[in-house]
C-alpha cells in the first residue's frame, strides 16, 4: 500500500485539446485529497475546467507550477500515501519524465482516443465518435440544437471506463451531412435508431441534452425496448416555453460579437464563453446548408415560438428508468419544466448553473450519470 504512487497527468478535455495550462492549484502540496475532490483548474484554448483527483491520498508534489503549459499526458502532480519516502517519489518522477519524453508525441503518449469516423446511415452521413469498451450496456450521447459531439468533451471519456460510449452529430450539425428532412424530433429519433442498427446495438442507455433530450424521449416512446435508461439534461418536450431569442439569435448571428452574446445565454458563468469557443461555433455556422437546416429544425420543433412536442407521459408509459438534471439558472428552457416528473431522488437541480450542466458542472453530472447507469445495466 505504501508503495502506491499515482501520477496525475494533464487531462484531455475533448478532441482538439493537445495542451493545457495550470490555471490554479486548489490543493496545497502535503495536503490530503479525496478521490473526486477538485485538485486543479486546467485552462485550455477553449475553456477552463476543474480537474478532480482520481485517487485519495496526499498531494506529495505539484510537478507543474501555476501558469505552466504542458502537453496532454504530461506529469503535473504526484499523489501517494504520506508514508511513502521522498526518495521514492523523486525516483517515480524521474522515471515518468524520462519515459514520457521518449514517447513519440504528447497526445499519443496520453493514449489519445481514436478520431471520430464518418458513418453512412440511410441518406445521411454522420460523424460518430466512440470511446471505451467493456460488457456493460453502451451509452449513446445526443447533443442539442446547434450543438455537436464536442458538447460532451468533459463527459465522454469520463463515462467510458466501464462501457462503450458513442457520441455523434445529429444531421444538420457538426461534421454530419446537413439534410435534416422534416427536422422533427421523430426524424432525429429515427436517424438515431438507424445508427444503433448500423452499430449492431440492440439496447443502449441514452443521454440527451436539450433538443437531444427530446430526441431521447421520442426514441424511448417509439422503440422502448431499445432504451435501457434515460439520462436527461434540460430536455425538450416537458413544457411549451423556450427562449426563442436564443434560437433565432443562434440562427442569425454570423459575426463573433453577436454569436458571443447569444452563446452566453447557455451558461451561468458567462466567462466560460471565450473567443475560441465562439470561433468553433462560427466555423460550423458558416458551412453551406447549416442555416437552412437550423431554420427547418426550429420551425418543426418550435412552431409559433413554443415547443410543439409534449413528451411528459413517455416515462410513465414506458417505465424506462430515468434521471433528470437541470441548471436552476437555465435561460433557454426553464428548470421548472422538470418539476413533478420524477421522484426527488432522480431529479437533480444545480444551483447557479445554466443550460449546459454537462459543461458547467461536469463532475456532478458525471457522478450522477455514472452511478445511475451502473444501477440500470443489464
Amino acid at each position: 500500500m505504501a508503495s502506491e504512487i499515482t501520477a496525475i497527468t494533464m487531462p484531455k478535455f475533448g478532441l482538439a485539446m493537445t495542451e493545457g495550462k495550470i490555471a490554479g492549484w486548489m490543493v496545497a502540496p502535503g495536503a490530503k485529497v479525496q478521490a473526486g475532490e477538485e485538485l486543479v483548474d486546467i485552462e485550455t484554448s477553449k475553456i477552463t475546467n476543474a480537474f478532480e483527483s482520481p485517487v485519495s491520498g496526499t498531494l506529495r508534489r505539484q510537478v507543474a507550477p501555476n501558469g505552466e503549459t504542458l502537453p496532454v499526458g504530461a506529469l503535473i502532480a504526484v499523489v501517494a500515501d504520506a508514508s511513502v519516502p521522498d526518495a521514492e517519489i523523486d525516483a517515480f518522477i524521474t522515471r515518468f519524465q524520462s519515459e514520457f519524453s521518449e514517447a513519440s508525441g504528447p497526445a499519443e503518449a496520453a493514449g489519445a482516443s481514436a478520431d471520430p469516423v464518418l458513418v453512412t446511415v440511410g441518406t445521411h452521413t454522420l460523424r460518430v465518435h466512440e470511446l471505451g469498451g467493456g460488457d456493460a450496456t453502451p451509452l449513446v450521447l445526443v447533443h442539442g440544437f446547434g450543438g455537436d459531439l464536442k458538447n460532451w468533451m468533459f463527459n465522454h471519456a469520463a463515462l467510458s471506463h466501464a462501457r462503450r460510449v458513442i457520441a455523434f452529430d445529429l444531421p444538420g450539425h457538426g461534421g454530419s451531412s446537413k439534410d435534416v428532412g422534416p427536422g422533427t424530433l421523430r426524424f432525429f429519433a429515427d436517424v438515431t435508431a438507424q445508427l444503433l442498427d448500423h452499430l449492431n446495438l440492440s439496447r443502449v442507455h441514452v443521454m440527451g441534452h436539450s433538443l437531444g433530450g427530446g430526441v431521447a424521449l421520442t426514441l424511448a416512446r417509439d422503440v422502448p425496448q431499445r432504451v435501457a435508461s434515460l439520462s436527461l439534461i434540460a430536455p425538450a418536450g416537458l413544457g411549451t416555453q423556450i427562449n426563442m431569442a436564443f434560437i433565432n439569435g443562434f440562427i442569425e448571428a454570423d459575426r463573433a460579437r453577436a454569436m458571443q452574446d447569444v452563446l452566453k445565454c447557455l451558461v451561468h458563468d458567462k466567462s466560460l464563453i471565450g473567443r475560441r469557443m465562439v470561433d468553433d461555433v462560427l466555423r460550423y455556422k458558416r458551412l453551406d446548408g447549416v442555416q437552412a437546416a437550423l431554420r427547418t429544425v426550429a420551425a418543426a420543433c418550435f412552431p409559433d415560438g413554443r415547443q410543439g412536442d409534449d413528451l411528459r407521459d413517455v416515462l410513465e408509459a414506458t417505465q424506462i428508468p430515468a434521471t433528470l438534471m437541470w441548471g436552476a439558472a437555465d435561460e433557454i428552457l426553464p428548470a421548472t419544466q422538470g418539476d413533478g416528473l420524477l421522484p426527488d431522488s432522480a431529479h437533480h437541480g444545480f444551483v447557479d448553473i445554466g443550460h449546459m450542466p454537462q459543461l458547467e458542472c461536469a463532475s456532478d453530472v458525471n457522478g450522477i450519470v455514472g452511478t445511475f447507469l451502473e444501477r440500470h445495466d443489464g
Binding site: R255, A256, R286, D288
Partner: protein
C-alpha cells in the same frame, strides 16, 4: 475535414463554386497552362504555381479561358462579362502586372455601380499573388494591396491561412461587387485543417488569432503567421499580445482594432507593403484619431524600407518583416511610455 494546402484550399473554393453556379468562369494567363505538350495532359501546369490545376479538365474550355498575355484586354473582358451576369474569376498572376490594366480596374470596374446610379452589378473577382520572399525580384514581389484599398468601389481580401483562403474566396465569388483577392505566393504549401464543404467568411470582420492584455498587433496575410509566432514567444516572456487579422483591408473592421487598442494601450502594425501610404500608416492614423487617449506608448510599424524588393536572397530577407523584428517592436512599446505634460 482534412489537412489542405493554401493552394488546394483556393483550388477547392473555385471548383465548388463552379459546380454550384454555371455562371462562374475562370480566365487568365496560364490558368490552363502547359497545353499542347507531348504528355497529352490538358493543363499540365494549371497556372504558374499550379493553383488552377484540374479545372480545365472538369469544366472545359468554355469556362476555363486561357488568355493571351494582354492584361488590359482580358481584365476588361472579365469586367464586361461580370456586367452581363457571369461571375468571372480572373487571374492576374503576379499583382505587379496591374500596371498594364489599372484603368480597367480603377476607372471602370470600381466605378460601374456608382456611375450607373446603383443599377449595375459587377460580380468580378481578380485573383493575384503578391509578396516578397520568393526570390522573384522587384517586378514580381510587390505587396500592392494599399493601391487597391485606396480605390473606393473595390473590396480587398488578404487571406492569412488555408482555412481563411477557402472561406474568403467563396464569399468573394458570391459577392456582387468587384473583389481583389490577394494570395501571398510564399504560402501555397502551408497546410491546416480545412472543411471539405463550402463555407463563407464574411468581409469586414477581423479575426483575433491570439489574445493578450499588453500589446495589440495588427498584421496582414502572411504576416499574421509571423505575428502569431512572435506573440507565442513573447507570452513565454510574460508579455501578452492580441493579434488581429483584419482579413479585408476594404472594408476594414475599425471597431475591432479600436476596441483592442483600448484594452491594451499599445499598438504594433505589421505590413509587408512599401512603407509610405500603406496599411500600417492607415491604421496608425485611425488609432491616433480615434483612440489617442488610450495609447500608453507610441505606435510602432514593422514595415520594409522604401526601396524596390531586392533580388539577392540575403537582402530580400533583410527587407521583409520577421518574427524577430516584431518581437523587438513589441518589446520597445513595452519599454516606452507616453508621459503626460505637467
Amino acid at each position: 475535414m482534412s489537412k489542405k494546402s493554401f493552394r488546394q484550399a483556393i483550388n477547392e473554393a473555385m471548383r465548388l463554386e463552379m459546380r454550384r453556379d454555371p455562371n462562374v468562369i475562370i480566365m487568365g494567363e496560364d490558368v490552363a497552362g502547359g497545353r499542347g505538350g507531348s504528355a497529352g495532359i490538358k493543363d499540365a501546369w494549371g497556372g504558374v504555381l499550379g493553383v488552377t490545376r484540374g479545372l480545365l479538365e472538369e469544366f472545359g474550355e468554355e469556362r476555363v479561358l486561357d488568355t493571351p498575355i494582354t492584361e488590359a484586354s482580358y481584365i476588361g473582358a472579365a469586367a464586361g462579362a461580370a456586367m452581363t451576369g457571369l461571375r468571372p474569376v480572373a487571374e492576374l498572376m503576379f499583382v505587379d502586372f496591374v500596371g498594364c490594366c489599372l484603368d480597367q480596374i480603377m476607372n471602370q470596374t470600381a466605378k460601374f455601380r456608382y456611375m450607373f446610379g446603383g443599377k449595375a452589378r459587377t460580380p468580378l473577382v481578380i485573383r493575384a499573388m503578391y509578396g516578397a520572399g520568393f526570390n522573384a525580384a522587384a517586378q514580381h514581389s510587390q505587396a500592392l494591396y494599399p493601391l487597391f484599398t485606396h480605390i473606393p468601389g473595390l473590396k480587398v481580401v488578404i487571406p492569412s491561412s488555408p482555412y481563411e483562403a477557402k472561406g474568403l474566396l467563396i464569399e468573394a465569388i458570391r459577392d456582387d461587387d468587384p473583389v481583389i483577392f490577394l494570395e501571398n505566393k510564399v504560402m501555397y504549401d502551408e497546410e491546416e485543417d480545412v472543411p471539405d464543404e463550402a463555407y463563407t467568411i464574411p468581409f469586414g470582420e477581423a479575426n483575433l488569432t491570439r489574445e493578450g492584455a499588453d500589446v495589440t498587433i495588427v498584421a496582414f496575410g502572411r504576416m499574421v503567421g509571423l505575428a502569431n509566432q512572435a506573440a507565442d514567444r513573447l507570452e513565454r516572456q510574460g508579455i501578452g499580445c492580441t493579434v488581429i487579422d483584419p482579413r479585408t483591408t476594404s472594408p476594414l473592421d475599425r471597431d475591432t482594432i479600436l476596441e483592442c487598442v483600448a484594452d491594451t494601450g499599445r499598438l504594433v502594425i505589421v505590413d509587408e507593403s512599401s512603407p509610405r501610404c500603406n496599411m500600417a500608416t492607415d491604421i496608425a492614423a485611425l488609432v491616433a484619431e480615434e483612440a489617442f487617449d488610450a495609447l500608453r506608448a507610441p505606435i510602432r510599424r514593422v514595415v520594409p524600407p522604401h526601396t524596390p524588393v531586392p533580388f539577392a536572397t540575403a537582402l530580400e530577407s533583410l527587407y521583409l518583416p520577421s518574427v524577430e523584428k516584431i518581437e523587438a517592436a513589441v518589446t520597445s512599446v513595452m519599454n516606452t511610455r507616453v508621459t503626460e505634460k505637467a
